[in-house]
């Protein structure tokens, strides 16, 4: 379908208005899964180019803006079709207000069809755990950009252990100062270097 191919290109170019127009035109004619698939394709293609250092964060951000604007249009159709989606609770840990990396992860996962509950920035441990429980999440994503707040990732895992809930969640961490080694050290399930490897990892678990 030409419009779906157009949509992929429009998302990659960060064209919000034209993307919305395209989706409005086709949303009653095709299955919502096909639109989600077009979003996934666009973000994956950008991801491959990001990996090769052909596109950079500004390009990812403007493409992410398109996904953000499209999701409210798709939600009623997603609910109507009762699509099964794994729920991911994600946020930047308490004390840290950096959000770009976390936002891109959130958008890429949405484009992949996950039900993402983005708690925002400066999120306390209790809020993470409360939301994960209430929303029936199976994945918790913890972002931090600062060495002064990376310990909150460890504290959350300790709290899960203390509550005897550690096995209920797949805990993934990311952010500039952290690494696979840090993930191993604190007992996280995964270290996520970027949004695209995060999506690939979660897809491989499904």
């Amino acid at each position: 379908m030409k419009e779906l191919n157009d949509l992929v290109e429009l998302i990659k170019q960060g064209e919000v208005d034209e993307s919305i127009e395209t989706v409005r035109k086709i949303i009653d004619e095709i299955a919502v899964e096909q639109i989600i698939s077009a979003m996934t394709t666009a973000m994956r293609e950008l991801g491959e180019r990001f990996e090769k250092k052909e596109v950079f964060i500004p390009e990812l951000l403007v493409a992410s803006d398109v996904i953000t604007e499209l999701m409210p249009l798709l939600e009623p159709y997603i609910r109507k079709r009762n699509m099964q989606r794994k729920t991911v609770v994600i946020g930047t840990v308490e004390g840290d207000i950096h959000e770009i990396g976390k936002n891109i992860v959130s958008i890429v996962l949405k484009a992949e069809g996950y039900n993402v509950i983005d708690l925002g920035t400066d999120v306390g441990i209790d809020t993470f755990l409360g939301a994960a429980s209430e929303q029936g999440a199976s994945v918790i994503g913890l972002s931090t950009l600062m060495t002064t707040t990376m310990h909150v990732q460890q504290d959350l895992i300790r709290e899960l252990i203390a509550q005897d809930h550690r096995s209920a969640y797949f805990v993934m961490i990311g952010g500039a100062p952290v690494s696979r080694k840090w993930a191993d050290r604190i007992g996280a399930d995964a270290y996520c270097a970027d949004a695209f490897s995060t999506a690939a990892l979660l897809n491989s678990l499904s």
């Binding site: 960060g14 250092k53 964060i57 803006d65 004390g95 207000i97 770009i100 060495t147 002064t148 100062p177």
Partner: protein, 327 residues
């Protein structure tokens, strides 16, 4: 005090450390960021314990943005941060202050710290300043600044020109108060493409380096491999690189032209690693240093507050031992 040229020629080990001094002095980070005497005492403890070839002030990206008139959140033991980014358009710039380093925010505090360092530390004394794109991101929000790279170049240019003016005034004041070097922190520009970096950071960095009388170090965190040619084109006297950067390639490229600081992982290796980790990282780095007097052993970014002090001691003693052997 020793002359600057002589000190610059002996720049061998200078980790980006300020936060571990907070732990040494038994104070809170907030106390250090709000009181010049407390900060200087913390830095003095670090200086007297390790005698690095260069001392840096405590890394604080909130000084300039606060002096522009932006309100900060001030937690006890975390970096200060901007409560709300006030700039969404060029018109908003009119509502900001043009900071006067002798009067506004905590700039006078930073000047007092660097003055005390210059009086008491016989090493290169470096003062941090925010880079233009980083300050722009603090004023407009990083997301907005990064989107503007693609969507609104006119606004971004106005914003970057405002930031550059503020940074030049502050840098000059730091130099007048005894800073031997300004270390320009430009982490947010580290996520730009080379072309975007050139247009939205390097142009303004060149303006800053041309306007300030003392040498400058350009520090960008993260994987900046693709930006190295652009960083070298900013006319900074040194670049400071994070642990993801291929130092071998960088040193081959610069061939002694400028000083290169780097790039031991501050978190995994120095703060929480083992002495074996430090040994391995140092040996790799020092093997590159042979024949390269322009390599300064440093950390890829600021060391965390709770850095293992025995590790830090070991980093200094082992660096000096190995450098002694390699010369």
């Amino acid at each position: 005090m020793t002359g600057m040229d002589e000190l610059w020629g002996k720049l061998r080990i200078a980790p980006l450390m300020g936060l571990p001094g907070v732990r040494l002095s038994g104070t809170s980070l907030k106390q250090n960021l709000e009181n010049a005497d407390v900060q200087f005492s913390s830095l003095k403890m670090l200086y007297e314990r390790f005698h690095p070839d260069a001392m840096f002030t405590i890394m604080d990206l909130s000084i300039e943005v606060e002096a522009c008139g932006v309100e900060l959140s001030r937690p006890e033991n975390r970096a200060f941060s901007v409560k709300q980014h006030p700039v969404g358009s060029s018109a908003d710039l009119q509502r900001l202050r043009n900071p006067d380093p002798r009067r506004d925010g905590r700039m006078p505090l930073a000047l007092a710290v660097v003055e005390a360092m210059s009086e008491e530390f016989d090493c290169i004394n470096a003062a941090y300043v925010s880079g233009p794109f980083t300050l722009a991101s603090l004023l407009a929000g990083a997301g907005n600044a990064l989107r503007s790279v693609i969507r609104d170049q006119d606004f971004l240019r106005d914003l970057l020109q405002y930031c550059t003016g503020a940074i030049i005034r502050y840098s000059r004041a730091l130099a007048e108060h005894g800073a031997d070097v300004v270390c320009i922190l430009e982490p947010t520009a580290g996520v730009l493409s080379p072309r975007q970096f050139e247009k939205n950071s390097a142009v303004y960095l060149r303006e800053i380096t041309a306007a300030v009388s003392v040498p400058s170090i350009l520090h960008i965190c993260g994987d900046t491999n693709v930006l190295i040619p652009n960083m070298l084109g900013t006319n900074c006297s040194a670049i400071s690189l994070d642990s993801q950067v291929n130092m071998n390639q960088v040193l081959q490229r610069v061939r002694g032209e400028i000083q290169v600081f780097g790039n031991i992982n501050p978190v995994n290796i120095v703060a929480y690693g083992s002495v074996e980790d430090i040994d391995k990282a140092l040996l790799e780095l020092i093997s590159l240093a042979r024949g390269n007097d322009n390599l300064t052993i440093s950390t890829g970014c600021d060391l965390p507050l709770d850095t293992n002090m025995e590790n830090l001691s070991y980093l200094f003693s082992e660096s000096r031992r190995l450098l002694g052997q390699s010369q």
